[in-house]
C-alpha cells in the first residue's frame, strides 16, 4: 500500500479535529476541577442558603479554593447542611467563617471563607462552626420598611 495525497489530507483533518478538541478542553473549558483524590471535605450548617447550588464555587479572598458538593436539609434543626470540597493545597484555621455571598447584584451565589486566627487547621470531615446565612433581599427590604415605620412613629 502506497502513501497517497489522500492520506495527507485525512491526516490534516484528524490533527485539526484533535487540535480543536484540545482547544475546547484547555482554552474553553477548565480541566482543573477539584478532584476527589487531592481534596478534603468540610461541612457547614446554615440557617438559610438562599440560592446556593451544588457545584457553586468556594472562594477565599476572591480565589476559588473548592466547590460545593452537596446540599442537604437537616429535618431536626431545620438547617441546611452544605458539604464543601476544598483543594488539599489550602488549609484553613478552625475558626474560619463561612458566609454565603453573591457576586454582583444578580450574580451567582458562592461561599466565602474568611480565615480566623486559630493555630489548628480544619481536617477532612470537620465542621465549620462560624457561618453566616445568605442575605435574602425580601427580609432586607422588610427590615428597612419596618425601620422607616418606627422612625415615623417616634417623630
Amino acid at each position: 500500500m502506497n502513501k497517497t495525497v489522500l492520506d495527507l489530507w485525512v491526516g490534516v483533518f484528524v490533527i485539526a479535529g484533535m487540535a480543536a478538541l484540545l482547544f475546547l478542553a484547555l482554552k474553553v473549558g477548565s480541566m482543573n476541577v477539584v478532584k476527589t483524590a487531592n481534596s478534603y471535605e468540610l461541612v457547614a450548617k446554615f440557617d438559610n442558603i438562599g440560592g446556593l447550588k451544588v457545584r457553586a464555587p468556594v472562594k477565599s479572598a476572591g480565589v476559588v479554593v473548592g466547590r460545593v458538593t452537596d446540599v442537604q436539609f437537616d429535618g431536626e434543626n431545620f438547617e441546611a447542611i452544605v458539604t464543601l470540597r476544598i483543594d488539599n493545597r489550602y488549609a484553613f484555621p478552625k475558626d474560619t467563617l463561612a458566609a454565603i455571598m453573591t457576586s454582583g447584584l444578580l450574580g451567582e451565589q458562592y461561599i466565602g471563607l474568611d480565615a480566623g486566627g486559630d493555630t489548628q487547621t480544619l481536617k477532612d470531615k470537620d465542621k465549620i462552626f462560624l457561618t453566616q446565612s445568605a442575605v435574602v433581599l425580601e427580609n432586607l427590604i422588610g427590615q428597612f420598611l419596618y425601620g422607616k415605620a418606627q422612625e415615623g412613629a417616634t417623630e
Binding site: A16, G17, V28, S30, R55
Partner: protein, 262 residues
C-alpha cells in the same frame, strides 16, 4: 373505495415494519463485518477523505458565522442586563453543548449523508453490488462498513472544529469588533465550561449523531429502488430522516445529560 383505503393503510404499515426489521438486520451486519474496515484501513481512510475532509469547508465557514451571530445577538441581549462579560460563557456553552454537535450533524447529513446514499444507490442500480457478490466479495464488508466507520470517526472531529470555529467567531465579534474585555471573556468562559459536563457530553452527542446519520444514509442507499427516481427519493429521505433523527436524539440525550444541573 373505503376497503382500498384501509388496505392501503395496512400495506403501508406492514411495509414500514418490514423496513425497520430489514434496517436492524442491515445495521447488525454492518457491525459484524466491521473488521474489514479496520483490517483494510486504506478503504476507511479514503472514505474519511470523502465524508470528513470534503465537509471541512462548509463546517468551518458555518461555524464561524454561527459564532459571529451568537456574539452579536448575545451581546445585544446581555447588554440590557449590564453583563457583557458573560458573552464568552453564552457563546461557548451554547456551541459546545448544543449548536456544535447539532448544526454540524445537520450539515453533515446534507453534505455527506446524501452523497453516501446517492453513491450506494447508484452502485446498486448499476448492479455493482451484485457484481461484487458474484466475485465472492461481500459488499457490506467492502463498501458499507468502511463508509460507516468513516462517518462515525469524522462526525465528532467536525463537531469539535465547528465549536472551536464558532467560539473564534464569537471572539472576533465580541472582543475584536465590539470591544468586550478580552480577559473576562476567556476567564468567565473557562470557569463556566466544564470538561466532563459540557465538552465530553458534546463529543458523546456528536458520536451518536455520526452513528445515526451514517447508518440511515447507508441503509437508504442500500434499500433504494434501482431506478433514477428511486435513488433521488432515497437521497431526499436520507436528509429528512437523519435531520429529524438528529433533533429527536438531541432532545433525548440532553434530557439525560443535563438533568438537574444548576
Amino acid at each position: 373505495m373505503l376497503k382500498a383505503a384501509i388496505a392501503g393503510v395496512g400495506r403501508r404499515t406492514i411495509h414500514g415494519i418490514w423496513r425497520i426489521g430489514f434496517a436492524t438486520r442491515f445495521f447488525l451486519l454492518v457491525l459484524l463485518y466491521s473488521g474489514t474496515a479496520f483490517r483494510r484501513i486504506g478503504l476507511t481512510i479514503r472514505e474519511i477523505y470523502f465524508t470528513g475532509v470534503l465537509s471541512l469547508i462548509i463546517i468551518l465557514v458555518s461555524g464561524l458565522f454561527v459564532g459571529m451571530v451568537l456574539g452579536l445577538q448575545g451581546y445585544e441581549t446581555l447588554q440590557t442586563y449590564g453583563s457583557e462579560e458573560a458573552l464568552g460563557v453564552l457563546v461557548a456553552l451554547s456551541l459546545v453543548r448544543e449548536l456544535g454537535p447539532v448544526v454540524a450533524a445537520l450539515l453533515f447529513a446534507s453534505r455527506a449523508g446524501s452523497a453516501i446514499t446517492a453513491e450506494i444507490g447508484l452502485m446498486k442500480a448499476t448492479e455493482q453490488l451484485s457484481a461484487m457478490e458474484m466475485m465472492a466479495v461481500n459488499p457490506i464488508a467492502r463498501v458499507v462498513a468502511p463508509r460507516f466507520w468513516a462517518g462515525v470517526i469524522s462526525m465528532p472531529l467536525l463537531a469539535a472544529l465547528f465549536s472551536a470555529m464558532g467560539i473564534l467567531g464569537g471572539y472576533l465579534v465580541g472582543v475584536v469588533l465590539i470591544g468586550v474585555d478580552e480577559g473576562s471573556f476567556w476567564s468567565q468562559m473557562q470557569s463556566a465550561v466544564e470538561f466532563e459536563q459540557d465538552i465530553l457530553n458534546g463529543v458523546i452527542k456528536s458520536v451518536v449523531f455520526g452513528i445515526a446519520i451514517t447508518a440511515i444514509a447507508l441503509f437508504e442507499g442500500y434499500d433504494a429502488p434501482p431506478t433514477a427516481e428511486g435513488v433521488s427519493g432515497a437521497t431526499t429521505r436520507t436528509v429528512v430522516t437523519s435531520s429529524l433523527a438528529v433533533l429527536a436524539l438531541d432532545f433525548v440525550l440532553t434530557a439525560f445529560m443535563f438533568r438537574g444541573i444548576s
